[in-house]
Subunit: 330 residues, 2 copies
DNA sequence: GCAGGATGGCAACCATTTTAGATGTAGCGA
DNA sequence: TCGCTACATCTAAAATGGTTGCCATCCTGC
């Protein structure tokens, strides 16, 4: 590989001048600039990023931490980050934390060692207090996380209005007896709190009362969904629709419904959350809330770049709208 | 950030000695080694990779080129690469070529500029002759590609035996009239040739003749699958099973079958290829050939690392077995 | 007293950016 | 015309944080 010195020699100038040309700085005559460019071209010269980096330049690399790229949601997010970053001339490094706190921290070290300019964390494994210190080495943007003080930008979905729209959709379909799955009923903050509020708001607006027996807590998996369906169908007084809070639960419910001959949506309408691929393949296809992973990745990247170039960004959470996708299950 | 000099000072030794400790070299007394390690810990010292890189070291980074991370197959592959690389202390950079030749070449420049030690290309966009020159800057491993001369390692699925196993499965189910989708019938090389051979082999072994009318060329999409089902069911003399060569085609066929009231597998057995997520969600669930993306990513990474450390690797294609996943559609 | 291995330090080197300063030229007032 | 300043242009050298070849020193055993 040719070095800057080779270029300088060939152009008959000093390497400082060549450096100036490379970095588009002033104080180089047009004549010499042309000479340098010519030499660079002839030698197929590319500046050595390691050397630039050592000298304290940007690395043109950003990192993204996801639990697993195989999860469609995080795949979309990663894809959007990579695409957006690429368009701005940045490269992307990935880290699958897969629940490993140490791996996450190790990856964040890239910031410390100047291998990445900024980090997007799409799912925080460590406590924020263990991550906070890394912020002094470069910008960090969080996705879908709540942290004590808003010291870094956070990109979120508008869970409240997503849930609100979902429940409202069920109400518009004529349902009045609406079941609801949530992670934690009395959540003080975070995703569940927002969703719960959306649920309450939609119910209240329609003048519907909430039946505590139709609120299901702590269900997460397809398996939970199967059991939940059996449970719901065995109730004397049962809801006509269930807002599940996750496509996985919903898919499990539908699978079990098909098994038991329960008709969806006639006997029970079922709504998912997330618009994962399974939502469109299961029969009947799932009505669900789309979490715009694309938009999230894009926004997170834009904010990181903003932070990198202007060193400032909005600290109030960026809330992205979630769209409702109506299919056959409601 | 603490530098090696800070560590040296704190340990009361020269930076040479510190460097020796860092790199696990000989000629450092246990005593001093401990002193250095202590100092490193106290200062939370991490060597600056840019500096090491500049001095001609490895970057501990490998790149992986995929068409899109959102494709489940490539997501698995990427995930496996990242995981395997991480276990060996390497970081992973991703590039979604998304059919963009220039993006692919730009990404391969990372090799030239020593930002990555090696590259895994999971889907080649450019002609090999345009990629070949990059090999002199670092190892490249190809996945699922055929190149003129085996100048770099190639990781492939054993398409022949996968197809063979699939057809054999159909025969064991009692089918004798077996339709077959292929990309190109008289393929001279590559995936289609191998698959065609597997088909022929299984049919020949069972003493079954091949009916040219049951060979369908150039079908790829779900839409193609829908049309194909209609076409097959309209045939006077028709197969009882179809090996589709892709889950997408198979899913299209099943969708259309459900639509038309054709029973799968009673009226027509349908087999996919790839074991994409859709295969398990469609009803009836699809019997298919699993392409072990995990194994592929793992193997590719291992080969790259092998090449990096020993500078040599097997040039004969590595062929990974494809497993058959039996579900409800056959 | 000396051979020879263990140990450790100096200084060069990697490719770039940045700092400080050199050189040349033009403008301007005396 | 001369001397001075201002500015454009360019260069040498320092700095960045490591690794490494080579040399010096120490210690052990003979």
């Amino acid at each position: 590989m040719a070095t800057i010195l080779d270029v300088a020699k060939r152009a008959g100038l000093s390497k400082t001048t060549v450096s100036r040309v490379i970095n588009n700085q002033d104080y180089v005559s047009e004549e010499n600039r042309a000479l340098v460019l010519q030499a660079m071209k002839e030698l197929d010269y590319h500046p050595n990023p390691a050397a630039r980096r050592l000298r304290g330049q940007l690395t043109m690399t950003i990192g993204v931490v996801v639990p697993a790229v195989t999860d469609p949601f995080f795949a979309s997010l990663t894809a959007a980050v990579e695409q957006t970053a690429y368009e701005k001339g940045y490269r992307t490094m990935i880290c699958q934390s897969s629940g490993d706190k140490e791996k996450e921290r190790l990856f964040l070290n890239l910031l410390k060692t100047k291998q990445a300019d900024g980090m997007i964390i799409a799912a925080l494994e460590n406590d924020w207090k263990d991550i906070q210190p890394f912020t002094k080495h470069g910008p960090i943007v969080l996705c879908n996380e709540d942290i004590p003080e808003p010291s870094v930008p956070v990109i979120k979905f508008d869970q409240l209005s997503g849930t609100y729209a979902g429940i409202k959709h069920l109400i518009q379909q004529g349902h009045q007896r609406i079941g609801y799955c949530t992670g934690a009923l009395f959540a003080e903050k975070g995703r569940d709190k927002d969703r719960n509020q959306g649920y309450q708001k939609a119910m209240a607006e329609a003048g519907l009362s909430i039946n505590p027996a139709w609120i299901f807590v702590d269900r997460h998996t397809t398996e939970d969904g199967k059991q939940l369906l059996t449970h719901v169908m065995s109730m004397e007084d049962r809801p006509t629709a269930v807002f599940t809070g996750s496509d996985d639960i919903a898919a499990g419910m539908i699978t079990q419904a098909n098994e038991q001959g329960v008709r969806v949506p006639e006997d029970l309408a079922i709504m998912g959350f997330g618009n994962q691929p399974i939502a469109q393949w299961i029969t009947p296809a799932l009505t669900t809330i789309q979490q715009p992973a694309d938009g999230m990745g894009q926004k997170a990247t834009q904010v990181i770049l903003e932070l990198l170039h202007n060193n400032q960004a909005e600290m109030e959470p960026y809330e992205l709208p979630s769209d409702i996708i109506v299919r056959k299950s409601t």
